[in-house]
């Protein structure tokens, strides 16, 4: 081996230093480029929607066409109700499916389930809406919160399933070995050790699924439909922020446009809130593991 002269050495070091700085600047620029649309959207939505964000917006229901004022209280409540139905139906199924494919991954049926989940994940959501229309709305002979919530649940299931699978597969093998070596059956191992130690990750996975469907519009158009009034009944059509944004945005009225922006802002806040909750639980998990 040749030892390079100190001068050459120093020159090389300087060149590396500059290259590293250059790459750093490049990545920073790329990051800014990616984040720019996000901030532009947030800025634009906030600017357009701010005027309509009055207390009435959160407390009142829509007024008939042409009358000023009114709000989206029923749409906010409707979105939350739809999400609640979707969570009740979708999270347990997604979790059970995720547990199955993670813990019995060597069985042929498990790879079938995993494949089906991936197909479902890639299915256009309007197709899911159409499916629910055929199997729920038509037999019930009406649009309903139930149908809308189920459509969201179907979209949520593969997301939750795959997230749960990832989390469970990340549980250290040592925990499983220890449980089995203590005389636990496979089932006791999963229920007593694997699930409790993955608890926080599973909650995060469920929240990921919720965040995924909270902004859906297409699958609600002909399932939950829309409703200008308060309705808590699951067998009645129900309003939602997304469908309400859609209806108002294509209307010819400036005041409705402003309300659509305000609704957008509210929806973003709800989704960011769910995302932040997921992040917080993840952070807590990391600390707990340390």
């Amino acid at each position: 081996m040749m030892t390079p002269a100190p001068a050459a050495d120093r020159r090389r070091l300087r060149r590396r230093h500059w290259r590293s700085r250059f790459m750093l600047a490049l990545t920073a620029a790329a990051t800014a480029l990616i984040l720019a649309p996000l901030f532009l959207i947030l800025y634009y939505v906030a600017r357009e929607g701010a005027a309509a964000l009055t207390p009435a917006f959160f407390l009142q229901t829509p007024r008939p066409v042409g009358m000023p004022g009114g709000g989206m209280a029923n749409a906010i409540g409707g979105t939350l109700e739809l999400l609640a139905i979707a969570i009740l139906a979708g999270v347990p199924l997604g979790l059970i499916g995720g547990i199955y494919v993670a813990e019995f991954r060597r069985e042929r049926f498990a790879s079938g389930v995993r494949f089906a989940a991936d197909v479902l994940n890639g299915t256009p959501t309007i197709v899911v809406g159409l499916f629910i229309y055929a199997v729920v709305v038509v037999p019930m002979r009406r649009f309903s919160a139930l149908a809308g919530g189920l459509a969201l649940a179907v979209i949520m299931i593969p997301v939750v399933l795959r997230a749960a699978e990832e989390v469970l597969r990340g549980v250290p093998k040592g925990y499983r070995d220890a449980a089995l070596a203590l005389g636990a059956s496979r089932w006791r191992m999963v229920a007593g050790v694997v699930l409790p130690s993955a608890r926080v990750g599973l909650v995060s996975g469920a929240l990921l699924g919720v965040a995924r469907v909270a902004g859906e519009t297409a699958p609600l158009l002909f399932t939950a439909f829309n409703n200008s009034f308060w309705s808590g009944y699951i067998d009645q059509p129900i309003s939602s922020l997304t469908v309400q944004i859609y209806d108002y945005a294509i209307s010819p009225y400036a005041s409705w446009h402003a309300q659509a922006w305000a609704a957008s802002l509210t929806l973003i806040a709800i989704i960011v809130g769910i995302g932040a909750a997921a992040r917080l639980t993840f952070a807590r998990r990391r600390k707990g593991m340390a």
């Binding site: 060597r106 250290p172 040592g174 925990y175 499983r176 070995d177 220890a178 449980a179 089995l180 070596a181 203590l182 005389g183 636990a184 059956s185 006791r188 007593g192 050790v193 409790p196 130690s197 707990g288 593991m289 340390a290």
Partner: protein, 273 residues
């Protein structure tokens, strides 16, 4: 299973008395083991006697862990793995069709190379085996067993005030002793230890060794170690493995001072491994 071996029922009839001091508690007979097409154990036969510390030594990759795991059927969880031969526990073949793996693992506890306490509290770690096996159901009884197990593992004085603290907040050596307490709680007859001190500093290692010598009063211990001094210090008998074969087995002192086989001598004098 071979026809040469007694059926479990016959074996039970043949060995009715509680094991005498020198009785074999574990007996491996013609054990072969394969990971897929790769054979890693070749025709291993050896006996482990009641109340002894039995050491398995040999270079890394020679099959010590694999052999240890055949003794409580932990290899069952590995897909594509295949076992041939038999292992008798008190005369009964633990691989016989219909043999109960769960009660086997209750009787034959295991301590792993990397300590693996559950991410629960200290108390819940020790209580896990009790819950799973439906032992010590009453609160007072359970607390008593937890204390007894932690004392037996030499950990009680260090954790008595923090039973509800997360197990993962303990030091490495404490975590390994917690794993020992967890295994002791369900009162196994035999403890399998796979390099239990390999990740620990010398002081923590010394404590594990002392502990093994104390536990010998009540348990039969099979310990894998790559540390020859450790085997020499604590074990009664030692088996030397090389490339999946049992080269030599005998009294530890004899094996280390006057080995019968050239390979053993080469290994203990540090010529390879």
């Amino acid at each position: 299973m071979s026809d040469l071996h007694p059926t479990p029922a016959l074996a039970r009839a043949a060995a009715p008395a509680p094991p005498a001091a020198s009785a074999n508690v574990l007996e491996a007979r013609h054990v072969n083991f394969f990971y897929g097409a790769n054979q890693v154990l070749f025709d291993i036969s050896l006996e482990i006697r009641h109340g002894e510390i039995f050491a398995l030594i040999g270079p890394s990759g020679c099959g010590k862990s694999t052999f240890l795991r055949t003794l409580n059927r932990m290899n069952d969880t590995i897909p594509e793995a295949r076992f041939e031969g038999s292992v008798l526990l008190d005369g009964e073949d633990i691989y016989a069709p219909g043999a109960d793996v769960i009660s086997l693992r209750r009787r034959v506890g295991m301590i792993f190379q990397r300590s693996n306490p559950f991410p629960f509290s200290v108390r819940d770690n020790v209580a896990f085996g009790l819950r799973v096996n439906g032992l010590a159901r009453g609160h007072g009884e359970r607390e008593a067993v937890i204390e007894r197990s932690l004392r037996a593992a030499g950990l009680w004085d260090e954790v008595r005030d923090r039973l509800d603290a997360p197990a993962l907040s303990l030091s490495g050596g404490q975590q390994q002793r917690l794993c020992i307490a967890r295994a002791l709680a369900i009162e196994p007859e035999i403890l399998l230890m796979d390099e239990p001190a390999s990740a620990l500093d010398p002081i923590a290692t010394g404590r594990i060794e002392e502990l093994a010598l104390e536990l010998k009063q009540r348990y039969t211990i099979v310990i894998v170690t790559h540390n020859l001094q450790q085997a020499a210090r604590i074990s009664d008998r030692t088996a030397f493995f090389l490339s999946g074969r049992l080269i030599e087995v005998g009294r530890t002192q004899q094996l280390f001072t006057t080995p019968a086989r050239k390979e053993t001598e080469d290994y203990i004098t540090g010529r390879f491994g």
